[in-house]
């Protein structure tokens, strides 16, 4: 037996990355549309691994096994994943904007070429920009009564789908917008971008719900710009795809702007869901209350990362990140990473994170009143989530969201 072997010198710094199948396909698809700079970026750096801080818990190089062919126009449609009674509906299927019914008062619907997201150092944002052919634009000139539902689909055989939505909300206008992501039962990879600009004192609720097939991968990046006094409430629900990551980029750019940035990961066996927020408080006197919850069962894995950046001038910023995790099995994993990056010196910023099982004393109390175990668990889980759904005032919408949560709870039985 040899007693020693000659070792290769370490050359990680200089060696090009070894590309996997997903990366090879992405590069070929980028070159095919002439996005050579993006192709070069993937060739050199590859998809992010755990060594990239913002992907620390979601190692895309490991998790993303394959990229399906670029989507062709959809010629079939699955049933809508979620119906909200009385909502004005718009649909984008396989990246193509479908014709819509007459818009309600105050809404102008249009199309623009290309993507919507601002450039930032993030692979999903880069890819969305490179692949988006057209984007749906909504201009809300005044307050809109009905809920606006944007139904974003991946249809047919497994496809790489890219789509984009841009929403302008005029000063003093208010609106409730829900975006749903769903489609056929296939190994789609969806990359969705949403850009939303809120005018002065605009009040917007933006809900995004992933209800894709378990075989699918769901990526979404939502960028928000808030002017003076604008109020934004978000609710992200990751409840469908086997692998999902929703990125939230709120920017508080006007005094008095406020964000209630909330989100929920619901993961079962074999699922990996990630909500990553990177917020910028850019000017003095802005506030935010990011509140995220994760529920994991089986071998499910849920990730929440929350970064609060406070610019040097942004005095009197008041922002607190919170993540609460609930583990319904011994094998479940919930990962939490808050980050504060504060350049101002007169701010109130904080972060908190809790994780645990259902409280045994609460379970015993409910059961001691005759409520069977499973029903007691359901009551406590609903109670845990009530804080997220309770602020949604539209009754039909709140009911639809409760339906998603109850459906998930029943799905585990």
């Amino acid at each position: 037996m040899p007693t020693s072997t000659a070792r290769q010198p370490k050359m990680r710094q200089t060696m090009p990355v070894r590309l996997n199948a997903a990366e090879e396909t992405l590069i070929a698809q980028l070159k095919a549309i002439g996005a050579n700079a993006e192709a070069e970026r993937i060739t050199v750096a590859g998809l992010p691994t755990r060594r990239v801080e913002s992907y620390h818990y979601t190692d895309l190089k490991m998790l993303l096994k394959a990229i399906p062919p670029q989507a062709a126009a959809a010629n079939e449609a699955s049933a809508p994943a979620l119906r909200v009674a009385g909502a004005y509906q718009l649909m984008i299927a396989n990246g193509v904007i479908q014709s819509a019914s007459t818009a309600p008062a105050g809404v102008i619907v249009g199309k623009a070429e290309g993507g919507v997201l601002s450039t930032r150092d993030d692979v999903l944002v880069h890819l969305n920009g490179a692949f988006a052919k057209e984007s749906l634009t909504l201009t809300l000139e005044s307050s809109v009564d009905p809920v606006i539902q944007i139904d974003r689909r991946a249809e047919g055989a497994a496809a790489h789908v890219t789509d984009s939505v841009k929403v302008f909300v005029a000063d003093n206008a208010s609106a409730v917008i829900i975006e749903t992501f769903s489609g056929s039962d296939a190994a789609h990879v969806g990359n969705h971008g949403t850009y939303m600009a809120l005018g002065k004192n605009a009040v917007v609720t933006h809900i995004t719900v992933d209800l894709s097939a378990r075989a699918a991968t769901h990526f979404a990046s939502n960028e928000y710009h808030l002017a003076d006094g604008a109020k934004l409430r978000t609710l992200v629900i990751n409840a469908g795809a086997g692998l999902s990551r929703t990125q939230l980029f709120p920017r508080y750019e006007g005094a008095g702007a406020h964000g209630d940035i909330t989100g929920l990961n619901l993961v079962s066996d074999g699922q990996h869901a990630d909500i990553t927020m990177d917020a910028l408080h850019a000017v003095p006197g802005t506030t935010s209350q990011p509140l995220f919850k994760s529920i994991a069962r089986g071998h499910g894995k849920a990730v929440v990362q929350g970064k609060l950046v406070v610019a040097r001038d942004a005095q009197k910023t008041d922002a607190k990140f919170m993540h609460q995790g609930l583990m319904l099995s011994d094998e479940a994993e919930i990962l939490s990473k808050p980050e504060l990056e504060i350049y101002a010196d007169d701010v109130v910023c904080g972060h908190g994170s809790t994780c645990g099982k259902l409280d045994e004393d609460s379970m015993f109390y409910l059961m001691s009143r005759g409520i069977p175990k499973e029903e007691a668990e359901t009551m406590l889980v609903r109670g845990f989530l009530e804080e997220l759904v309770d602020p949604i005032e539209d009754e039909a919408l709140a009911e639809a969201l409760h339906g998603i949560i109850d459906g998930w709870l029943l799905g585990g039985k």
Binding site: D359, E360, D361, S362, F364, Y365, L366, M367, S368, R369, G370, I371, P372, K373, E375, A376, M379, L380, R382, G383, F384, L385, E386, E387
Partner: protein, 253 residues
């Protein structure tokens, strides 16, 4: 001879390696109110939790019959539907679950277990309103999350409200007087006394005699070191108050 509502025979229970109940024998006939008095740490509260089915305890010996049925073989929720009710010393706060939602779930779960139909919402509201009026509970309080932010008195009144709605055969009141001022104690006691009936028995656990001025027991038991060491009529409680526990269990106070 009629079946007693509760019959405890030589009950032993422990938590981890520590034996807490060391041979409890207690029979409560229908319609009677029994009090169990004992110093802190004597195992009184353990007795109530063991009867209600809390998981932390291991039963090592003995049996318990509720109206002739094997209580220890039942899950906690089955015990409730069979007619057992424990009024908690410290009712649990449950954020996100409205009290009203909880009450309706509990009533319907018990009705379902007994093969009865669900209550209609108007019937339910009427029952809650009627039971609430007698306990000075308004419906606003019931819209709040269960026990969250309730004062000590409100929590105990909510426990008695549940008891009134669920109509159990066997009520266990664990230190119901703790955390109550005199006025609240009167309201709660009045609510409990209103529920005394020929078919319903009660076990009142306390370490102060004062509760027993309001809820007058038929029998008083002295509990010490995991078992009953003395039983008598209501005057036994007065003797205890005068002489202390040492005269009964021999241990130094």
């Amino acid at each position: 001879m009629t079946t007693p509502i509760l019959e405890i025979r030589n009950l032993h229970a422990r938590i981890e390696d520590r034996e807490i109940l060391k041979g409890v024998n207690l029979t409560i006939p229908a319609g009677e109110v029994h009090a169990v008095m004992g110093r802190n740490g004597s195992g009184k509260s353990t007795l109530s939790y063991v009867l209600a089915g809390k998981e932390d305890y291991e039963i090592t010996e003995g049996e318990v019959l509720l109206d002739g049925q094997d209580l220890l073989a039942m899950e906690p929720f089955e015990r409730a539907s069979a007619g057992l009710f424990l009024a908690f010393q410290y009712p649990i706060e449950i954020p996100g679950v409205a009290t009203m939602t909880f009450l309706k779930a509990a009533m319907n779960a018990q009705r379902k277990a007994r093969g009865e139909g669900e209550m209609t919402t108007p019937d339910f509201m009427r029952a809650v309103k009627q039971a609430g009026t007698e306990l000075n509970i308004d419906t606003e309080m019931l819209k709040r999350p269960l026990n969250v932010g309730f004062s000590g008195g409100e929590k105990k009144r909510a426990e008695v409200l549940q008891m009134a709605l669920l109509q159990p055969k066997m009520c266990i009141l664990d230190e119901t007087d703790s955390g109550l001022d005199i006025d609240a104690l009167q309201v709660v006691s009045k609510g409990v006394n209103a529920l005394r009936s020929a078919g319903r028995s009660m076990l009142v656990i306390t370490h102060y005699q004062r509760l027993l001025n309001h809820i007058v027991p038929d029998v008083v038991h002295v509990f010490s070191d995991g078992k009953i060491v003395e039983s008598g009529d209501k005057d036994l409680a007065l003797q205890l108050e005068a002489k202390g526990y040492a005269d009964f269990d021999g241990a130094a106070a």
